[in-house]
Amino acid sequence: MDSQPLTETHDEIVRVLRDDGTPDPAVDPGLSTEELRKLYSAMVRTRVIDERLVTLQRQGRIGFHIGSLGEEAAILGSAFALRERDWGFPCYREFGAALLRGLPLQRFIDNMFGNANDLVKGRQMPDHYTCRQARWGSISSPIGTQMSQAVGFAWAARLRKDDAVALVYFGDGSTSSNEFHVAMNFAGVFRTPTVFFCRNNGWAISVPVERQTASRTFAGKGIAYGVPGVRVDGNDVLAVIAVTRRAVERAARGEGATLIEALTYRVGGHSTSDDPNRYRDKKEVDPWLERDPIERFRRHLGRLGVWSESDEDTLRAEADRQVREAIAVAEKTAPPQLETLFEDVFADPPWHLVEQRAELLRGPRAPSAH
């Protein structure tokens, strides 16, 4: 990695965990035992929650879920590499990162149910949570919109002599959006302290990466904008941390933005609304199951002797219990009050919203919520 300074773009893929399972000391971010355990636990917790949420959706208890199966290393590693004062601009697939950064589990599950305790007041679909206190952005479904915002946010921080960095998440498909190019260009011109974190998971719903770009790599797209790009094994959590840390440090030093391409794979469907068997061969998935980021990391921890089978059992049982408890609470929580519909459109509701609120409250109720 030292032979690969973040000033130019390379095709090689940065890895820490080598094929024989040993870490490459030149790149290893050197986490403490406590950090390793914390990181691993967060990855497992993410998967346990994912699995519960998919089940809930199948049972009709929540409307939707968009999961991170197979992408936990990219999602958790990048968030782990941020410093306390940095900010995240998520897309819709990074709830695990938000939890790691401080979104309370209960609030996330409340969002999945769109109940009265949901921080977005039941206004958005599941997985469209928010948490300013965790320095985490507000999620929008339209692809790409968060990218130029992360550029402006980081730029503002620099203008105000604050060394905070903004990391923005997006997928391979999102690099085709108008916004990607606009954001990269602004970041290049103004050298903003932004980290562009591209989760290249192979697919944009049913569209494979070959339909998104004719470039050899996504990292290479940075060249045109004067933003260095780096490719990292997105299923190697230590490599993701190493690369993201360097990008964050570089940004904080005033050297500008970095584009990280994390190579990973969307093992599940796009969301609970999608059946990937319609468009991709199961055989394509198999090799990625072998590269499962959680298994891989656990083997590493086992070799280091910092993780045991009983640790594993305790963690899974605990994670499962926590998510079940949060679900039980969220499911019992009432939906948002009718009048909340009219709050936050403006800071203060103008006359027409006051009238419309009165009209709704005075009128008959909808026959069934759903």
């Binding site: 479904s141 944009a204 009718l338």
Partner: protein, 324 residues
């Protein structure tokens, strides 16, 4: 005659048209192998191949911009925007380019295409999978905007739109994609654009609706009938250019008007419809026209059924208008 739902009827219209006219190409996100996230283009990729049913990179601006180029060359593109909520990256191409091409080139470059996109709420889609943005397009000179409410019209209007010389936005009410079923003739037929249909005849109040809300208006009209109020429900089908004669004729008969739409009230299409009626048949009116619409808030998730102008909100408006 085969029974179809809306999805099947639209799919059938595309197949019929593509067989006959090889200038027609479908392009968009996930329209190919998987056949669209709502399965509207299912089977077309296998039948017509990758050159005519094209999965594009994820850029609505690119999809519509490229479609404009194809249209200028002489093809007939049918871009799909996966949800109308995601049409905004293409809005510049639609408003600044597509809508004005014929005019700004002195008629040298007509630009014909049909942009298909699912609209509307009631499917647990929250802010960004629920909106019904017709007013943003009707306001733009040079665009035709349609919104069928049943499989027969869906097929016939899509075939009419494909034969139309101008750009057409074809809005598909996704809440009734599978719920609205009916007989659909095989092969080719058209339902002329600019023709509204009278979905229920009545004497007391004219109710204008379209898309998924038509069924709510019809349900409210049945309930009003039990209270002795006889409503005439007009299904606009084509929103712009609207069938003004059908509206005038109905209001001349009833003297009362209620307009229903999902989109927010302020500057919604209802505002235009009410203005037209007030300007043109004012002296026939016996009560103030009413709008029953979505509220002037973003489209919500949990409370979406309270937000939508469903039958329970339409009924009181009908009764009050009838008795005003």
């Amino acid at each position: 005659m085969p029974q179809m739902n809306m999805v099947q009827a639209i799919n059938d219209a595309l197949r019929v048209a593509m067989k006959k006219d090889d200038r027609i190409v479908v392009l968009g996100e996930d329209v190919g192998k998987v056949g669209g996230v709502f399965r509207v283009t299912a089977g077309l990729y296998d039948e017509f191949g990758d050159d005519r049913v094209i999965d594009t990179p994820l850029s609505e601006g690119g999809i519509v911009g490229a479609a404009i180029g194809m249209a200028l060359y002489g093809m007939v593109p049918v871009p799909e925007i996966q949800f109308a909520d995601f049409i905004w990256p293409a809005y510049d191409q639609i408003v600044s380019e597509l809508a004005k091409y014929r005019y700004r080139s002195g008629g040298e470059y007509p630009c014909k295409m049909v942009i298909r996109t699912p609209v509307g709420g009631g499917i647990r889609g929250g802010h960004y999978h629920s909106q019904h943005p017709e007013a943003h397009f009707i306001h733009v000179a040079g665009l035709k905007v349609v919104c069928p409410s049943n499989p027969y019209d869906a097929k016939g209007m899509l075939l009419a739109a494909l034969a139309d010389p101008d750009p057409v936005l074809y809005f598909e009410p996704k809440r009734i994609y599978r719920a609205a079923k009916g007989d659909v003739p095989e092969g080719e037929y058209t339902v002329p654009l600019e023709s509204a249909s009278v979905a229920r005849e009545g004497r007391d109040v004219t109710v204008i609706a379209y898309g998924a809300m038509l069924y709510e208006a019809l349900d409210a009209a049945e309930r009003a009938a039990q209270e002795g109020v006889d409503c005439e429900v007009i299904d606009l089908r084509t929103l712009w250019p609207v069938d003004i004669r059908a509206i005038e004729a109905s209001v001349e008969k009833t003297g009362r008007l209620v307009v229903v739409h999902e989109a927010p009230r302020t500057c919604g299409f209802g505002a235009e419809l009410v203005s037209l009626v007030v300007e043109r048949v004012f002296f026939h009116l016996q009560a103030p026209p009413r709008r029953v619409t979505g509220f002037d808030t973003p489209f919500p998730y949990t409370l979406e059924m309270e937000y939508l102008p469903l039958s329970h909100r339409i009924l009181p408006a009908l009764l009050e208008t009838a008795r005003a």
